[in-house]
């Protein structure tokens, strides 16, 4: 049986931890809201871009398709694995890593997969698993801008165009709601434009040529897709952290309650014992 002092010390420790986790929960809640807003703010741009791309890619052409649209037999695959930089966000990194692992080992069992990691948790996992890690990006922070994604996008597009890889996939945590974050795998390259509804086809005047506009549009589109995935990942990370920290705070207050109960028991027991001693003492004198 621990002494009263030990229990009281324990209560203080747990209370302090609870304060920290409560603060972390609130910080995560604010950051999650901001990440959600950023995702929303990026949506009009992304939707318009996808629409323009469908227009352009749907145009009949005698030439070869744009390098970023080329479908080749898949001999080598690249996976862009996006994970949080930091822990204390529940099962999210583990789930993301598991999804990426099954993608490499099961979905692409016979194909060599090279990995580009965004975020430390995924990097650590891939290094531990002895995977070939082609490049590492981390420290994007909580509020990345489109410009921060450009080096990553450039690297991926270059290795696709040069033929080092035949298909690129991204793995990230899709933000469904505060409770649910779905590990998602999505094809990035070759780009597959959405089919255009027939009534939406428009005869644009292109300036300069359609091919030039497509040349300019495609890299932007790829950057945008990556940016979107990064933003979703951040929203997922923060909401997972928020929930994890809320649970931790609840656990801490439960623990404090139990410990207080125990402390009171020990205290009362001590008082009872003292009383018994006194009574016993007086009895012997009578």
């Amino acid at each position: 049986m621990p002494s009263l002092r030990q229990i009281r010390r324990r209560i203080r420790t747990v209370q302090n931890t609870g304060k920290i986790t409560r603060a972390m929960e609130m910080v995560a809640a604010v950051k999650m809201r901001r990440a959600q807003q950023a995702t929303m703010a990026a949506r009009p741009y992304a939707e318009k871009m996808a629409e323009l791309l469908s227009h352009l890619a749907g145009m009949p052409s005698d030439e070869d398709p744009h390098p970023l649209l080329q479908n080749r037999p898949v001999e080598r695959v690249t996976l862009v694995h996006m994970t949080p930089d930091r822990g204390l966000c529940g099962a999210l990194p583990g789930n993301l890593n598991r999804r990426a692992g099954s993608f490499i080992l099961e979905d692409n069992a016979g194909t060599p997969v090279s990995v580009v990691t965004v975020g430390r948790k995924g990097r650590d996992f891939m290094v531990r698993a002895n995977r070939e890690v082609q490049a590492v990006f981390d420290g994007l922070g909580d509020r990345p801008e489109l410009m921060d994604i450009v080096p990553l996008a450039r690297l991926i597009m270059d290795s696709f165009v040069s033929g080092e890889t035949d298909a690129v996939f991204i793995s990230f945590g899709q933000f469904v709601n505060t409770i649910v974050q779905r590990p998602t795998l999505q094809q990035l390259l070759p780009v597959v434009p959405a089919e255009l509804a027939a009534d939406k086809a428009v005869g644009y005047i292109y300036e300069p040529l359609p091919a030039d506009v497509l040349d300019a549009l495609l890299p932007r589109y790829v950057e945008m897709e990556l940016y979107h995935a990064v933003l979703e990942g951040i929203a997922s990370e923060q909401s997972a952290r928020m929930v994890a920290m809320r649970n931790a705070t609840d656990n801490a207050s439960d623990l404090v309650k139990d410990l207080t109960l125990e402390a009171n028991k020990v205290r009362q027991e001590a008082i009872t014992n003292e009383l018994l001693d006194i009574i016993g003492g007086t009895l012997t004198f009578q």
């Binding site: 703010a41 990026a42 741009y45 992304a46 227009h55 801008e145 644009y204 300036e207 300069p208 506009v213």
Partner: protein, 148 residues
């Protein structure tokens, strides 16, 4: 007077949305003016100044490139990055321009040079937009009570 819907978005935010009378945009193939009921058009933009008039008032936005689409009397600009004239701090823009010039003078490697030149062009555009705005409205802001 006929107007058209104008919307300008970047990946991070919406910069402008509303009815405008005319637009002058820095297209890659040259500057182009757009009036209401323009034919469907899709073009790329170069770094430059985008001007538009709304109720007789001209406004300008510095863009560093992007796309412009005209469809059904709606103009949509997908800008790589853009700043409204009154957001630009002239001193900061000039400072950025000087830095870019210095980097070009030092010319470290091809890759860096390319980026420095791009940065210089962007900075020049920002400085130009900010200077124009200063010379245009030194005193009180929009004319109060101007009847439309």
């Amino acid at each position: 007077m006929a107007t058209m819907q104008f919307e300008m978005v970047t990946a991070e935010r919406q910069l402008f949305a509303g009815e405008v009378d005319s637009i002058v945009a820095p297209g890659t193939a040259g500057e182009l003016g757009i009036l209401p009921h323009h034919a469907p058009l899709l073009t790329t933009l170069s770094p430059g100044e985008l001007r538009f008039t709304q109720g007789g008032q001209e406004q300008s936005i510095a863009v560093t490139g992007g796309f412009l689409e005209v469809l059904d009397n709606r103009v949509t600009i997908l800008a790589d990055a853009a700043e409204q004239a009154d957001e630009i701090v002239l001193e900061r823009a000039e400072e950025a321009m000087r830095r870019a010039e210095e980097r070009i003078a030092q010319r470290v490697s091809d890759m860096d040079l390319e980026r420095a030149v791009a940065a210089l062009r962007r900075a020049q555009v920002r400085v130009a937009v900010a200077r124009r705005r200063r010379s245009r409205s030194p005193g009180p802001g929009p004319q109060a009570g101007a009847a439309e």
